[in-house]
């Protein structure tokens, strides 16, 4: 055990001494999440909207003015027929249609409630979400001010509908996605590189000729990355939560446990890569091509899996990040418990067994 601890200590020293490693370890997650976060939550500006006003009274006009005088929206046209909505969205310039119900002001002032329908083009899910939020906010402020003046309680019920993408896939996607990507990259790439480095420098021979058992060497190489990856996972969730208000609706403990499981999977992939890569460069190459690109392209992180051709959907099923993304989305966004994600968890678990088995097999062949 003392041998092992000494070995792990040295592993941490390697990491802390190397500025580049530290940058990758801690700089990358922060940079990525801020980058993606701000790209995704880019501010609305000059969004073209259409209005279908069936009431045409002073209230609807005031609301229209409020919306159009905000710097977010530009009134593209007013509609006179509900059937135009479909074609106007298909054109693609107009991203939002606001529909006031007939007798809007009368209902609002007499019955205290009126309906407003907000249709958004959700083929760009993130923008659509923002559009609806901004519009609703403007309406809320308006009604709040009006209530103060008129001193009667009233409410406008905005009914939002996402056109073309009802489930709003893509929103909040970046936190789970980045987590899946960073963890797999750091754990798998860094472990495989650091093991390949020992091979390349010849120190692996020395270690193997020492009383350290191979399993101790492997665990010693891996332990620091478990710790650091876990810190990364926590910081990504915290960043997402505090900077971008991505909720953690479900159990934090479950989320952490699943993250650790995924980290182990990434490490076992890293181990496997290190058994086939002879040099650090090769390890990095394999990691980047076999992990980073598929994670970005095939895991559903950026491109919806449902839109992929069948064959790519099959490939996607082989990508560990895909399942992890499902798991954390389920926990973070929907607040689901373990019952809902046991299948995905099992898949991750089987993948771990698969890669560890493969690594052991390769390792034995290498030692003859």
């Amino acid at each position: 055990m003392k041998r092992f601890i000494g070995f792990v200590k040295k592993e941490f020293l390697h990491i802390f001494r190397d500025v580049r490693t530290m940058l990758i370890l801690f700089g990358m997650p922060v940079a990525q999440i801020l980058l993606f976060g701000y790209i995704v939550t880019n501010e609305l500006k000059d969004i073209r909207i259409a209005i279908y006003d069936q009431s045409k009274d002073h209230v609807t006009r005031e609301i229209t003015d409020k919306i159009c005088s905000s710097r977010f929206f530009i009134l593209d046209r007013t509609l006179s027929n509900i059937n135009d909505v479909e074609s106007i969205f298909k054109e693609g310039n107009v991203k939002e249609v606001i529909i006031f119900e007939p007798d809007f002001a009368k209902k609002l002032e007499k019955e205290g409630t009126a309906g407003i329908q907000i249709l958004a083009d959700a083929s760009d899910a993130n923008t659509a979400n923002l559009i609806v939020q901004y519009t609703s906010a403007i309406i809320r402020i308006y009604i709040f001010q009006k209530m103060r003046m008129d001193k009667t309680p009233m409410q406008i019920i905005p009914e939002a509908r996402m056109m073309y993408n009802e489930e709003m896939k893509g929103v909040y996607m970046f936190v789970p996605g980045i987590m899946a990507m960073i963890l797999v990259l750091i754990s798998a790439m860094m472990t495989s590189i650091s093991i390949a480095r020992e091979k390349e420098l010849g120190t692996m021979e020395i270690l193997l000729a020492s009383p350290l058992k191979p399993i101790q060497i492997v665990l010693g190489k891996v332990t620091p990355y478990v710790v650091l990856s876990f810190i990364n996972a926590v910081s990504i969730i915290l960043l997402g939560n505090f900077v971008f208000h991505v909720p953690v609706a479900g159990s934090v403990v479950l989320l952490m446990a699943e993250s650790i499981l995924y980290i182990f999977l990434a490490l076992s992939i890293g181990l496997w890569i290190s058994t086939i890569a002879k040099t650090q460069q090769m390890a990095m190459f394999i990691s980047l091509f076999s992990l980073m690109l598929p994670t970005i392209l095939l895991s559903g992180f950026i491109f919806p899996i449902d839109n992929m051709p069948d064959i790519l959907q099959w490939f996607s099923a082989l990508m560990p990040p895909r399942w992890f993304i499902i798991i954390i989305k389920s926990i973070m966004l929907k607040g689901n418990g373990f019952i809902y994600i046991w299948k995905e968890t099992l898949i991750l678990f089987l993948m771990i067994l698969f890669f560890i088995g493969l690594s052991i097999k390769n390792f034995k062949i290498r030692l003859e």
């Binding site: 041998r3 420098l201 010849g202 020492s210 058992k213 030692l367």
Partner: protein, 245 residues
């Protein structure tokens, strides 16, 4: 070096190692005695490294009876590894950590107590005149220092036997000479040295030398007797005569 009692440290009988159809080590039989400096020579690809890896417990032989430091290479590699030191061809300390951290790491791996490690580290730095460099990264060391340090660390746990795989390749003649002084000192302290080398002048420094050609040991004796037998002026000539035969 003549010893009163000759304890056998390495005993190899009919050591054979095959990789598929290729025979890397063909029926090697030899003994290495305690305290001896045993030179293991051969051209590139003659099979030296394969033998050394087997003796270090890094690889299992195809057949043969082999024991190292009294332990069987098939079943007791753990114990062998505790009792040997190993310095590989490639330079083998960690470049991005300091000298003291390297010493502490390998001391720890070989199970030395913290106090022993501290004491040995002080002795070692004193001997190599490297006290000032205690907290310097190995990467800033000149190659000569590194090599000497690597050797000292390879024997930090006072092994019965140390394997040196071409330890002086790429080192200037003066440093090589200094390096051999260290080897003599270790040998004097009772550590058996098993060394492979390319340099035939170094072969002269060994107590006994084995010369390997195509996986077989073609000659094994003291340098003096080998030179007599092959009617050669130096080991270089001996080597060429054997290799060309």
């Amino acid at each position: 070096m003549q010893q009163a009692e000759q304890i056998v440290v390495i005993e190899a009988k009919n050591l054979t190692k095959k990789f598929g159809n290729f025979v890397a080590n063909d029926d090697l039989t030899f003994q290495v005695l305690s305290g001896e400096i045993f030179g293991f020579l051969g051209a590139n690809g003659a099979g030296k490294t394969t033998t050394m890896r087997i003796l270090c417990g890094l690889s299992t032989p195809t057949s043969g009876e082999i024991s190292v430091a009294g332990y069987d290479v098939y079943t007791e590699t753990e114990k062998i590894k505790r009792n040997i030191g190993y310095m590989s061809q490639k330079f083998s300390l960690y470049e991005d950590i300091t000298m003291y951290e390297n010493i502490r790491l390998f001391g720890g791996i070989y199970g030395l107590s913290r106090r022993t490690i501290r004491r040995r580290a002080d002795e070692l730095m004193e001997k190599l005149e490297l006290k000032h460099a205690r907290n310097m990264l190995i990467s800033s060391f000149p190659l000569g220092w590194k090599q000497k340090l690597a050797f000292s660390i390879a024997i930090i746990h006072d092994p019965k036997l140390v394997f040196l795989d071409e330890p002086t390749s790429g080192v200037d003649p003066i440093t090589r000479r200094q390096f051999w002084d260290l080897i003599y000192e270790a040998s004097f302290n009772g550590i058996t040295i098993f060394v492979t080398t390319h340099y035939m002048d170094e072969a002269e420094y060994c107590d006994r030398v084995s010369i390997m050609v195509d996986g077989r040991i073609e000659a094994l004796d003291t340098p003096r007797k080998l030179k007599l037998r092959y009617d050669a002026e130096d080991m270089n000539e001996v080597f060429l005569k054997i290799a060309r035969a």
